[in-house]
Amino acid sequence: MPDGPGLELIRGEIERDCPGAVLATSYDRHQAALLADPARVLEVLRWLRDAPGQRYDFLSSLHVADYLPNEPRFGVHYELINRDRVERVRVKAMLVDPGDDQLPEIDSCVELFPTADAQEREAYDFFGIVFRGHPNLTRILMPDDYVGWPQRRDFPVGGEPVTFTYSEQRFD
């Protein structure tokens, strides 16, 4: 992990090359995170991957968390590893829930990190986050005809009626 000052140095260098792309930093429980502007998250990721002296070129995990009732609600997390310096940094982009059955959107990073393919599909499947430019954004773990975004915090546990032989008439 870069320590607190190391994180600020990285932020300063990104600020020089792409001003305004990083909104804030956080260093909590020994974990470094950069809060990126969701519209420019690819710039940040590309800089971390390609800038000389950085090489955060391994995306170990992409996942989404629902921060309901906070706004902006959805956080897309990119866990990057620099294998030379053996450091991890998290890039986080917060997305607002547009409401009215609209889905939040963010650029897909499959071009930069092919490993994100399945993980972005998983995020779409469970949170309904649309990754613009993803080659095949379909459901991956839930059935193709499933309706709803089950990992959202306002999706009830047990909301799926389970039909047994004796209970069929109760769920018609």
């Binding site: 909590d28 170990s60 968390a65 921060y67 994100a116 399945a118 991956i140 990992q151």
Partner: protein, 405 residues
């Protein structure tokens, strides 16, 4: 001469069909898919031209269910994701929660955890070796591997009471100390294991069928594997010495002496060699843990997070109150988020936990290595024979419970 010439081959029986592409469905219920994995394969003759894995058949919504349980009740849930490496799931989750609440675990617990993780790694690799060799036609390997696997399960049963899904790791340490006689049995096993691995190698390393089916098949370059996010033995077989046990500091791995086996070509044979060598290294780690096992408590002494000892409940009112609070509501965790990754038998096993201040996690996410590694399967199998595809799938070693969660 009329136009109605009689065809010499009215049914098209002599037509050359070797260039025709046929779509074949493999699975989801097929012993060679190591779970309920479905593969939609486009075949040209016997050559794989396109491959689409279809997953989700054992998706049980474990991550969602975890959001409805207090922190300590999540542990048995996450164990059941990747059902072959249950100790690793527990360690990833407990480690993440310990980092959230900033709880230091005592040295004896660290050693015990490392010990059981490495026994579990051997167990996982034995299941892999037995089933994969079975896929490749070496039926006897399954019996030999499961013989040793059973000894590991006996050890688990002796220490934890359960053979699988032991719920042994707790937030703060482990649930109870190892019993008398465990050390002797465990040491005997760990000393025997390298000999057994040598016997497996004697059976397979000069087996003509095994060699011709693994050597030179399923090659994916190291650069491509890194792009695809592949970790674990698959990546090391391609020559990249990346192992989180060495790279990051967790449990007692910095104090132990072990090697990281790496391959050269990155074919299926290298994957086999790397895993087999890892079993020997893991048994060395087990012995070192037994030698260096320090005396002292096996679980942290923080009554806000850790259950008080059973004996205190009848004498101490405070212990009874703490016990009651922990068992009914659980403990509350200050808002925050942690991603904690460890080296599982298949690669980087990461656990992300988001706390919102309540007694239940707001999100538990597992970065499962099988799920990510499965993306490399298309690269392994493309433009090879169907038989090599089955060999590559075995060497990929996906556990579908972990893929689907």
């Amino acid at each position: 001469m009329t136009d109605a010439a009689v065809s010499t081959d009215p049914l098209g029986l002599n037509e050359d069909r070797t260039k025709e592409v046929m779509t074949v469905n493999v699975g989801p219920h097929h012993p060679a898919t190591h779970g309920v994995l479905r593969l939609v394969v486009d075949l040209e003759g016997e050559i794989v031209r396109e491959l689409r894995p279809v997953i989700g058949y054992v998706h049980t919504g474990i991550e969602k269910s975890c959001e409805d349980k207090s922190y300590w009740k999540v542990i048995p849930f996450v164990e059941r994701m990747d059902y072959v490496s249950f100790f690793f799931q527990m360690e990833a989750y407990c480690g993440a929660v310990e980092r959230l609440i900033d709880l230091e675990i005592p040295p004896r617990a660290k050693y015990l955890r490392t010990l059981f993780l490495e026994l579990n790694r051997i167990h996982s690799h034995l299941v892999w070796l037995g089933t994969t060799a079975l896929d490749l036609g070496a039926i006897s390997m399954l019996w030999y591997c499961f013989r040793e696997r059973d000894k590991i399960l006996d050890l688990f049963e002796m220490a934890t009471g359960q053979r699988m899904h032991t719920r042994y790791f707790q937030v703060g340490g482990v649930i109870e100390d190892i019993p008398l006689g465990f050390e002797r049995k465990c040491r005997a096993f760990a000393e025997e294991m390298p000999v057994r691995v040598g016997q497996y190698q004697d059976l397979l390393d000069r087996n003509e069928v095994f060699l011709s089916r693994t050597k030179g098949t399923g090659i994916v370059s190291r650069e491509r594997l890194l792009e695809l996010g592949v970790t674990g033995p698959l990546l090391r077989a391609a020559g990249e010495p990346w192992d989180l046990r060495k790279a990051f500091d967790y449990l007692v791995y910095p104090e132990l002496d072990f090697k990281i086996p790496v391959g050269t070509v990155g074919d299926n044979y290298d994957r086999y060699r790397v895993r087999v060598a890892e079993m020997v290294e893991s048994s060395k780690i087990v012995l070192q843990c037994l030698d260096a096992l320090p005396e002292g408590p096996f679980i942290a002494d923080d009554r806000k997070y850790v259950l008080p000892p059973r004996s205190e409940l009848s004498t101490s009112m405070e212990s009874l109150i703490h016990h009651f609070k922990l068992v009914t509501e659980g403990y509350r965790v200050e808002p925050g988020e942690v991603y904690y990754a460890i080296e599982g038998p298949r690669g980087e096993l990461g656990c992300y936990v988001l706390a919102d201040g309540s007694a239940k996690p707001a999100r538990v996410h597992f970065r499962d290595p099988s799920f990510v590694n499965l993306q490399a399967f298309r690269d392994m199998a493309l433009d090879g024979y169907v038989a090599d595809m089955i060999a590559s799938l075995g060497m990929l070693d996906p556990i579908l419970g972990g893929v689907d969660r």
